[in-house]
Symmetry: C2
Subunit: 609 residues, 2 copies
């Protein structure tokens, strides 16, 4: 009946596994159909109560949807990444307690017979990045992450002791292997062991941060692992922002032959479910594979599926690829909105100059928390053009934001005269008076200040520290200027497509960029064309290319030297810049750790080394 009922669902959403493919041959006889929930959810670091309550609510949803097993992301209970909180004994104890409390409360709520896999922080001969298989009010089995990433934004060797066992839980007669995030990115380890142990299904729970086009890498990778293990893989990732990281979801299921069975959309928080036919376990062997032991556990019988009830969960379809602009916009809105909400703010304030950067940041904020909670401030200086002021006002109008003008000129004059400032010092004072103005309004009214700098400016130091750099969060700090324009075009086009008013004034997009800190100043006076600049920066900053590499790729040596010098010299400023969502291969922040005191010069000069 269970099987019948499941077979009865439209094949469209869930094509049956193709056992006649490589990797699948082993299990051809008896199959069991399971309905599995993929909880693509948003977590908050350290919010044990809130994270546990969310799990309980989603498990109830899954029950209503007739699922027998629900899978949550990596570090579900602690949130990810907790960073040095892991070093605190009190935090580790709280995580262990949250797990046992969750198991008990699920059972108390009549949800004990559904199997639940959650990530948490455990402590066993060291701190562990762990996954627990919960059922009937207790922890049936646990798994400790085997591969610990220590590159990019990850420092897991700093925190965790690696696991030495592949945990296999026999559930409804199916052998289910537990794995965590990086386990799927590295060769060897759990997936190799899984094939030898003849596992029937692999779960991989993730805290996998968004990067442009990363979704194009994940699927082929997981396909390969599924084929390697000879078993289907259920890949579950979280959504939402945590400081500089944004998680995009993109959860999916692949068959033993690597066929895509279902894929969730990015940046959508929802419980999805999938029906999948799985082979009955035939082996009880507990082999040792490389340095991994296979540990087997038997779970209680699963809940009988009853898909009848009304529920919010959604059958897992196959979400299509979205455009690069749409994907990035989604990441910036999610990252900015979560930073605001999770840090207890309900409104933001930013300087609106009429330029493209502040326009895009304002539009992102409006999409994240609503235009009525966005406060724009125009702070024209003696060098601000008239269109700057009108463009800023029009932007505010289009996105439904508040807008006021503050005259900074008298204050700037007072500084310049009392300190006898000239040139760059005078230019910077304008920016710093603006920064102090925004912070004053923030202190007075409780708004979070958003910084509007982009990655190109941040790279070459084309910003004023304590001036336009002030803020609690910087939504486009990892977006190259040339892509900021693309985002604006896309967002306006998307609005037109939806029959809405395009948020960004065309004039802000089309006019030549200028800091307007001196008469008739244009970015192009001191910087190369942004397309060219960004091409160099993508190689130098994101990919660690050297001077020789860039020159051999055809870039002008003098220009490369200049760009590299400017980028190196701005390191101290970047250190004091607010966090912002990572969307690139290498974002400024914990992802790129360079010394400030640094005499290395890519463009070799005898005088320097």
């Amino acid at each position: 009946m269970c099987v019948f009922q499941l077979r009865a669902r439209p094949a469209a959403t869930v094509p049956p596994p193709r056992w006649n493919q490589p990797g699948g041959e082993r299990h051809t006889e008896v199959v069991t159909a399971l309905r599995i929930g993929l909880a693509q959810v948003d977590l908050t670091v350290g919010a044990f109560a809130a994270n546990s309550a969310m799990v309980s609510a989603r498990v109830a949803e899954a029950a209503a949807a007739g699922a027998q097993l629900v899978v949550f992301p990596e570090m579900t209970l602690t949130g990810y990444m907790p960073e040095d909180l892991v070093l605190r004994r009190s935090f580790r104890a709280a995580s262990r307690k949250a797990l046992t409390d969750l198991a008990a409360s699920l059972a108390a709520a009549g949800l004990g017979d559904i199997a639940v896999v959650v990530g948490y922080l455990d402590e066993h001969q060291g701190a562990r990045n762990a996954a627990a298989f919960i059922q009937d009010g207790s922890v049936v089995a646990r798994y400790f992450k085997y591969h610990l990433p220590t590159y990019g934004v990850f420092d897991e060797d700093r925190y965790f002791t690696p696991g030495s066992e592949l945990t296999v839980v026999r559930f409804a007669g199916v052998d289910i292997g537990l794995t965590i995030c990086e386990d799927i990115w590295q060769d060897g380890g759990p997936f190799t062991a899984a094939r030898v142990a003849e596992v029937g299904l692999l779960l991989n729970i993730n805290g996998s941060p968004y990067e442009r086009n990363k979704d194009d890498i994940r699927l082929p990778l997981v396909r390969r692992r599924a084929i390697e293990a000879g078993a289907p893989v259920v890949y579950v990732n979280q959504v939402g922002g945590q400081d500089e990281l944004v998680f995009d979801g993109d959860s999916f299921v692949v068959a033993a032959d690597g066929a895509l069975l279902g894929r969730a959309p990015q940046f959508v928080e929802k419980l999805y479910y999938v029906d999948i036919e799985l082979p009955q376990a035939t082996s009880d062997a507990s082999p040792v594979v490389n340095d991994l032991t296979v540990r087997r556990t038997i779970a209680p019988l699963p809940a009988r599926s009853s898909g009848a009830a009304v529920h919010e969960a959604e059958p897992l379809g196959i979400a299509g690829r979205i455009s690069d602009e749409e994907e990035v916009w989604g990441a910036l809105v999610a990252g900015t909105g979560d930073y605001i909400r999770k840090n207890g703010f309900s409104s933001v304030v930013l300087g609106m100059s009429g330029g493209i950067d502040s326009a895009v940041v304002a539009a992102i904020a409006a999409d994240a928390i609503g235009g009525s909670r966005v406060y724009g401030v125009g702070m024209p200086s003696a060098y601000s053009s008239d269109h700057s002021k009108s463009d800023a006002a029009e932007l505010a109008e289009r996105i439904g934001a508040h807008y006021e003008v503050v005259e900074i000129e008298p204050i700037v004059r007072a500084f310049v005269e009392s300190l006898k400032l000239t040139g760059l010092a005078e230019e910077n004072v304008q920016a710093r008076v603006r920064g102090t103005t925004l912070m004053g309004l923030s202190n007075q009214h409780g708004h979070l200040v958003l910084a509007t700098g982009n990655k190109s400016e941040l790279s070459v130091g084309y910003s004023t520290i304590y001036g336009d750099a002030v803020g609690g969060f910087a939504p486009i700090k990892d977006v190259p200027k040339s892509f900021v324009w693309k985002l604006a075009e896309w967002r306006n086009a998307e609005a037109r497509r939806r029959g809405q008013l395009p948020p960004i004034p065309q004039n802000s997009i089309s006019k030549p960029p200028s800091a307007e800190l001196s008469p008739g100043q244009l970015d192009s006076d001191s910087l190369p064309d942004y397309e060219l600049l960004d091409a160099i920066l993508a190689r130098y900053v994101d990919e660690d290319a050297g001077f020789a590499d860039l020159v051999s790729e055809g870039f002008d040596p003098a220009l490369v030297r200049r760009v590299v010098r400017m980028t190196d010299a701005a390191e101290w400023k970047r250190r004091q810049y607010p966090p912002g969502p990572k969307i690139s291969l290498k974002a400024f922040g914990k992802d790129r750790r360079l010394p400030i005191t640094n005499r290395w010069r890519e463009a070799q000069d005898a005088d320097e080394h």
Copy 2:
């Protein structure tokens, strides 16, 4: 003759090894005396040419002093720590080239017959933290660091592939084993292998950052390793500052029985030399110990020692312990001076409020670069007391610094009126006008701005971001307020001891601390007594103690809750604070990595979790 001549030196500086001690018995027959140079030098990250030139000069000094072997610190050629520069192929190639160029230039300079051990970055199946044994113009042998620290400020698993061989060089008939820094801090590995391989001498080259009382830990540790290996250990550490790290030197030599043969003073850059009698090698075995293979190499014959010539090198005596205050002051002066010099500044500017923090920072800067290159700015507000102004002027006078007064009141008024600011927002504007003033003077005159915040303020967020927090470097950011007073007392006492004018006005030390941002304001209005506050912070910040720990230790729960809350809430501000020298077990910065978005509350409240 060589041996005779060496025996002829005063035994006082170098007591002969006591072979009749545990660990020493093996080598009783033939001994060779070697004169070894310990290069306790200051390096600069990325300055290959400068670092190599320094090595050549020191090797020449060592030759003049009749040394046969000179030992330099970890990562001599690249400087330490290069952080993500290691990920750049161009940088790795430059390091390898610098090594071969150095070997050739030493030979060309007639210094080929002296053996030189330098640290560098190598590339061999991954990046390696390496040591090279150079002689006669070529690299005789190299060693790859086995234990890679990945905790605290260290991220070496992020960068390096660990070594798998203990390198033993037979030099003058003595088997010399090469090890690097962390190798001596972890059990197992090279020191265990060294005993089995019957090594006659172990070199340990370091980039070991200063921490209060760390020198008290190093010596017993190295004694233990020497006994474990059954061989003397020559421990060489660098001096000087690199961003947030300060290296204190403290190089020393320990006999096979753990007896201290000589110890260099902290924070002094100098080439020291020691004469030591070492056992002739008797074994040629190349055992495999755990996962380490022993690789043996034979070096050319050493130079004939001729100690006649005049030279700057100094025989290694046994430096005594210095007081905590003197040690910390030395670290702050070294760290601040090196940051200024290595980043190309020749002067500093800071706000002089007449308070203890700015007074101590000014005195540190004066000790580091001379008072004539320190520019103090008095920026009294409506709430500044008269004594504040006079104390600031007196401080400048005492340390020979420049001093000017800038009236900020009109500018503050302009902000407050145009933005209608009250309370905290008004207080912060005063601090930000000061910050903008200092940055304006910095931009105009090229001074580095020094921030004057201490660790207690930084912990609880008792500072104004973009206000008193502005600066390129923050000399006392890791110094608790209660210790800032001790430093001031010590520095003044030290001046009196030397018959000099005490730099810090007594009034700045004795008056109650105040931010002077509102009428009659005192720190004690909003903060507990600093001794008490610092006691809590030392446990919470430096040692990761939890709420329950602190309460069980007798601290008032309500106070602990408040302090912990304030500390957690200030994380976003600390992220944008300038770097400063690490002197504690755990400094803010890369040493302590906490999320900003963080709902974990040590003091548990139902509403939060």
